[in-house]
Symmetry: C2
């Protein structure tokens, strides 16, 4: 084992030619890094290398010179292209030996699926001599752990549903055991809507200059995120460092803040509606169902979201939502009056506390000099009054749609205050 | 310049501590790899390193020993944390010199936004002596190119909207110029629906054994993708190698094939509806607007998609879609009869050629022993008849929703045959 107090210096290596060909994204790097960061376990390098034994072996050589933890994903499958185990055994000058335990797991795995184990899968029962098996409950390839050359090597399979539980159940506990008592690294994310990133940036330069906690803006589509990150001896001390900075940000931008950490606009809207036993319906033109879809993405949304109408065609605006035909004729489908009629119409027809109406030109076609692409009207009706907001975007179709939905939810939160 | 016939051996390095903390995904690696692969330019290593001058420098050292092209993303910003240029200058033992051209670009950039250039941005006008500027039309940081130690170094900014045009307009043409005459690597992706990956796998083992072209299954949510990849002297020869394999796959699985390359189920459905001047409407319960949203994601969809009703609440199924109350009472909201009534109701109310009805239990709550989570009915009505399909999923809420939408579109394609 490494000396007490040694810092974790982890390195992640993904194995697979499909990654280097750009056919798949190496999402493991982010997932593993984020999990380790939660425990103050630092990752200093990410790498990816193809299905080539020599190059994999060299990646291990380089890694073992600069890192004391090497977590490898991929290349544990049954085919001749799967070479991770072989490359590590060769680098460490160790044999691969048949593990009865691994063979038993494989047999059971296939028996549970009413299949005979294909002969090629036998390869997966071989383990690096002197290493440990990492159980894989969701697939055939067992993982491997070995401590050698002062490096903790973890080999994990590539499929995310297999890799992730093995990371949480085996790798993290082992690392915490080895490097325990490290500093905790805690982040808190504040979510804002209705204010631009550049406006915020200019007003937080005193805070972003700090080192612990750090304050960093994160890119968000149609919203603005600030991440506060602190390190300390313990989680509670890290949180205590975050608190005054969060308070200061709330003091400066509180009226734009809608949530923290994993909150989303649909989840916050949903929580507030549910608490008050209020209900919502939506009438969408340019967002074409996206707003309803975002709301119903949230489990349990049937408690407060009654439904919606996607009124792409004008006749549907009339027949299902009672938008007056003269409003459509004189003001047009993309107008303040139509947005208002959509919100009021859906609210009345679906008998809900609130109704949202959205109409606009998402593009790329359909714009005119008077009503350019990106022009959107959002209306929120609560039975007493209807607020209508005019928005003008200069972004892609997908972005217009998404930003419009977020604006609509943000405006609803404002009305519900 | 490298010798004629030298192979491109590229390496990608992403710079940024936020990548190593798992706060963002290094999506550049995939994008750049895929672009290079199109031209037979091979990438052998991906790496990521934090905002630390010494570690960035060492990454350049390692890379220059094994690669002849190094493409670096990130670390070109105006702050003290942005160190990519400094690290490369130090590694190459070159000075950073003020570029009047870069300074002019910066001034213009800010002037175009009615702002004075902040003093800290002046840092971005410094370039590695002897290098070339790579113009950045979408941001402040110019890129840099320098050929030294027999390595082509490209430094690109981190924001994707800035990086990607610079990759296409400068890096790729330069690499093709240097390594021109390489083999073309061409891929063709076939999209299938209605057939499981394991069923396909078993029937294509003769094809996946080939080396050129290769055939590889790709993971798809609710659909199945096969990628055929060939290398040859020219794009047309590569395509000629792909053609017979594609033909054979069409012969075996043609009835499940719905599209190729960038096709999606909503785009294929849309194209077919538009060609025939037919129209579509949808009535959604468990998918909550996702189906409408997927359809309207396609530019120009207003030509054939009239609209939809998201009938989360049963009263809306009755009031807007004429689902008989006794069907809801006796059969329940999740039933074949309700799916049928939804499809027929929305088709009639919205006067469209086709109507789709979807009802089910997306979970995680709401299941019973008779109607478990993941039970879904999809109905397609065309005025003469209504087909109803019963589906049973054992996946997450988000997956149930997405797979249901794809099944619905796939079934519609079948009816339209």
């Amino acid at each position: 084992m490494v000396a007490v107090g040694t810092q974790c210096q982890a390195e992640l290596i993904a194995v697979g030619s499909e990654i280097l060909l750009g056919q798949i994204n190496n999402s493991h790097a982010q997932v593993i890094s984020a999990e380790l960061a939660k425990y103050g376990l630092y990752v200093y390098h990410h790498g990816a290398v193809g299905d080539n034994e020599q190059r994999i072996r060299r990646a291990f050589e380089t890694a073992s010179q600069r890192s004391n933890v090497v977590i490898v994903t991929g290349g544990l499958g049954p085919t001749a292209d799967d070479l991770t185990k072989e490359a590590l055994a060769s680098f460490l000058d160790r044999k691969l030996v048949l593990s009865e335990e691994a063979l038993h797991h494989l047999m059971q795995y296939f028996a549970g699926r009413q299949r005979q184990m294909p002969e090629e899968n036998r390869k997966q029962a071989y383990c690096i001599e002197g290493g440990e098996l990492i159980p894989n409950e969701n697939g055939t390839a067992p993982g491997q752990y070995i401590f050698d050359r002062n490096v903790h090597f973890f080999l994990l399979p590539g499929p995310p549903l297999e890799m992730r539980p093995m990371l949480r159940n085996y790798v993290l506990p082992r690392l915490i055991e080895v490097f325990g008592g490290q500093q905790a690294l805690i982040s808190r994310v504040l979510h804002f809507c209705g204010i631009g990133e550049s406006d915020v940036d200019e007003q937080i330069q005193d805070l972003t200059a700090g080192q612990n906690p750090t304050v960093a803006p994160l890119a968000g589509e149609g919203e603005m995120l600030l991440r506060i990150t602190a390190t300390a001896d313990s989680e509670s001390s890290a949180r205590a460092k975050i608190a005054p900075v969060e308070e200061e940000l709330r003091r400066r931008f509180g009226s734009y803040l809608y949530g923290v950490d994993d909150d989303t606009l649909p989840s916050v809207v949903g929580r507030r509606l549910a608490e008050r036993q209020h209900t919502l319906s939506v009438a969408e033109s340019c967002t074409g169902g996206l707003l309803a879809s975002m709301l119903t993405d949230v489990p349990g949304s049937s408690a407060y979201f009654m439904g919606g109408v996607v009124a792409y065609d004008n006749r549907i605006k009339e027949s299902l939502l009672d938008v007056p035909s003269d409003v459509l004729a004189t003001e047009g489908a993309v107008s303040e009056a139509t947005a208002r009629a959509l919100a009021e119409g859906v609210r009345r027809r679906l008998s809900t506390t609130y109704g949202i109406g959205v109409t606009g030109i998402a593009g790329p076609g359909g714009g005119t000099p008077e009503k350019p692409v990106g022009l959107v009207y959002v209306a929120v009706a609560d039975g007493r009054q209807t607020q209508v907001y005019r928005l003008q975007y200069r972004v892609s179709r997908a972005q217009v749609r998404l930003r419009t939905c977020k604006q609509a939810l943000w405006r609803l939160l404002g009305i519900m205050e």
